[in-house]
């Protein structure tokens, strides 16, 4: 059901996209990518390869300097025009420190002008999905790092997004918390039938989570290759220690290493 077969409709189309910053840094060069409905697509690669830049472009937070993007085959207006929703989870929880968890989670709904009475059920449902029901009245600082991240995910889920973009969401957490949240995220992805684009620099995390992995290289940022992780869901902790997991991780490692090596000649002065 979540295999996201090749014929699943393309929801985001990235064609020959370049992004050059005003400083002259070329963050992305000639990126092509199709995001298909229902897939869990992960971007991995060395730092500076433009993973986050690509995610910000897809979110509509910045515009490409070349090429084009299409959302739901409907052109540039990606949320207003098509009624589709994109949510974003950042590297940090980015919660409002002065507001309770409930108010933080309600934020996207209240910004959209939804009356408070109507939001209650949705906020409660979102909190329940990330196991924070008992913490609605707490302030962010009263929660652990992992719980803050779950609150941030609840805030992203409350709009029932069609596409969830996550930019190294668990990068700052310890390994145990990260593994637990990875598992919870997969369960949410199954239950919500949404599409997830996930950025990480952890190969193991990429293998564990994804239906497909795009490996990126730096200088300039580009996509080297995409891999399908053809393993059934739900994926348990047993999958982490299986031989197939190790094989996938090894293949991916080799590819990422190649991506790093690829950048070397560029970094050294021409002979």
């Amino acid at each position: 059901m979540h295999e996201a077969p090749a014929e699943a409709p393309v929801i985001v189309e990235v064609r020959a996209v370049d992004k050059t910053y005003d400083s002259g840094t070329c963050a992305l060069l000639g990126v092509d990518l199709d995001v298909r409905r229902g897939e869990f697509l992960t971007l991995v690669g060395p730092s500076g390869c433009g993973k986050s830049t690509l995610l910000a472009l897809i979110a509509g937070l910045s515009r490409p300097t070349g090429g084009r993007l299409r959302w739901w085959s409907a052109g540039f207006s990606h949320t207003g025009g098509t009624g589709r929703r994109i949510s974003f989870v950042f590297q940090a929880p980015t919660l409002m420190p002065w507001a309770s968890v409930t108010t933080n989670v309600r934020l996207p709904l209240s910004l959209a002008g939804m009356p408070r009475a109507k939001t209650r059920a949705r906020v409660e449902a979102a909190l329940a999905r990330v196991h924070l029901t008992a913490f609605g009245d707490h302030l962010p600082r009263q929660l652990s790092g992992g719980m803050q991240m779950r609150a941030s995910i609840a805030r992203a889920l409350v709009t029932e997004p069609d596409l969830l973009l996550m930019d190294e969401p668990f990068g700052a957490l310890d390994e145990f918390t990260r593994q637990r949240l990875d598992g919870e995220l997969l369960a949410l992805w199954s239950a919500q039938q949404m599409t997830v684009m996930f950025v990480t620099h952890s190969i193991h995390e990429a293998v564990f989570l994804s239906t497909r992995v795009a490996v990126m290289a730096a200088h300039p940022g580009r996509i080297l290759d995409t891999w399908t992780i053809d393993e059934p869901y739900p994926r348990s902790d047993a999958f982490r220690v299986s031989t197939t997991f190790a094989q996938h991780a090894q293949r991916l490692s080799a590819c990422v290493a190649e991506a790093g090596a690829d950048a070397l000649p560029d970094a050294e002065p021409a002979a």
């Binding site: 937070l61 994109i86 974003f88 980015t94 420190p97 002065w98 507001a99 934020l107 959209a112 302030l139």
Partner: protein, 265 residues
């Protein structure tokens, strides 16, 4: 908890101890050296004068505090409005900020005579002078605060298609509060200083006379104990006003901001 309470007690007792030692030394010095009260009055004589001249001095204190408080309120209002204007665009800020600095670096003693000439009502003139002195920290701190917003939250508001007004009211204003209160603390002291200094220049008299006038007159009449008593009142008023702003900021920020959190360890 117990430890916290003893900390709290120390916070009150330690400065009190310093005051007692200081006053005792002062009293002893004046008595032993037989220094005449028109040079340095003893603390007991100052206390006695404070009581004997209470009607005159408290009346003057009321005038000065009234001017300082109105000036503080005006400075807060004008400061916030100016800061809100500044953050609307970099162009506005770049064009106007130098003039805010100009206002800040020009000594009030130099512009007070002008204001007093232009504004007929002395009380209004004094309020204006004190406002000019107090407004700058509110402007600069609030502007800084309105700009110091978490980058990620700004992006989140953009993604949620928040209006300019929503971003201002629900994100920038709460983020700016700690900075604003920092500015308010400075402005409180400046408003009082402004009220006193302006009165020195204006030279009021009769009904509307504040503490500065009393100090001036006491100096001319060599009534040094009364001069000291007036100084004590100004100092106490300043401390009280400062404490009030600290309290307000504590109530407003206690729940979430680092500066007001009691770290449990």
């Amino acid at each position: 908890m117990n430890r916290h309470r003893s900390q709290q007690a120390l916070r009150v007792l330690a400065p009190m101890f310093v005051a007692i030692v200081f006053l005792a030394a002062w009293q002893a010095f004046v008595t032993v050296k037989a220094i005449p009260p028109y040079i340095v009055p003893s603390p007991s004589l100052v206390a006695h004068t404070l009581y004997a001249d209470r009607v005159l001095l408290l009346g003057a204190l009321r005038v000065t505090i009234g001017i300082a408080l109105i000036a503080l309120a005006l400075a807060t209002l004008l400061g916030i409005l100016t800061a809100l204007l500044f953050v609307q665009s970099r162009w506005i800020e770049m064009s106007l900020f130098p003039y805010a600095i100009l206002l800040q670096v020009t000594p009030i003693v130099a512009i007070a005579p002008l204001i007093i000439i232009w504004v007929r009502d002395t009380r209004v003139a004094l309020i204006l002078c004190a406002t000019v002195v107090a407004v700058f920290p509110v402007i600069s701190n609030t502007t800084l605060g309105l700009r110091s917003v978490d980058r990620g939250l700004i992006d989140f508001f953009r993604l949620s298609r928040a209006t300019r007004w929503q971003t201002l009211w629900r994100l920038r204003v709460p983020s700016a509060l700690p900075y604003f209160f920092g500015g308010l603390r400075i402005a409180t002291g400046l408003a009082l200083i402004g009220a006193v200094v302006a009165e020195f220049v204006a030279g009021t008299g009769g009904q509307g006379a504040g503490l500065a006038y009393q100090i001036l007159m006491s100096g001319i009449q060599l009534n040094i104990p009364r001069l000291f008593a007036a100084l004590v009142l100004i100092a106490l008023a300043g401390v009280a006003m400062f404490a009030a702003t600290v309290l307000v900021s504590r109530v407003a920020l206690a729940r979430w901001h680092e500066s007001e959190l009691r770290h449990e360890s």
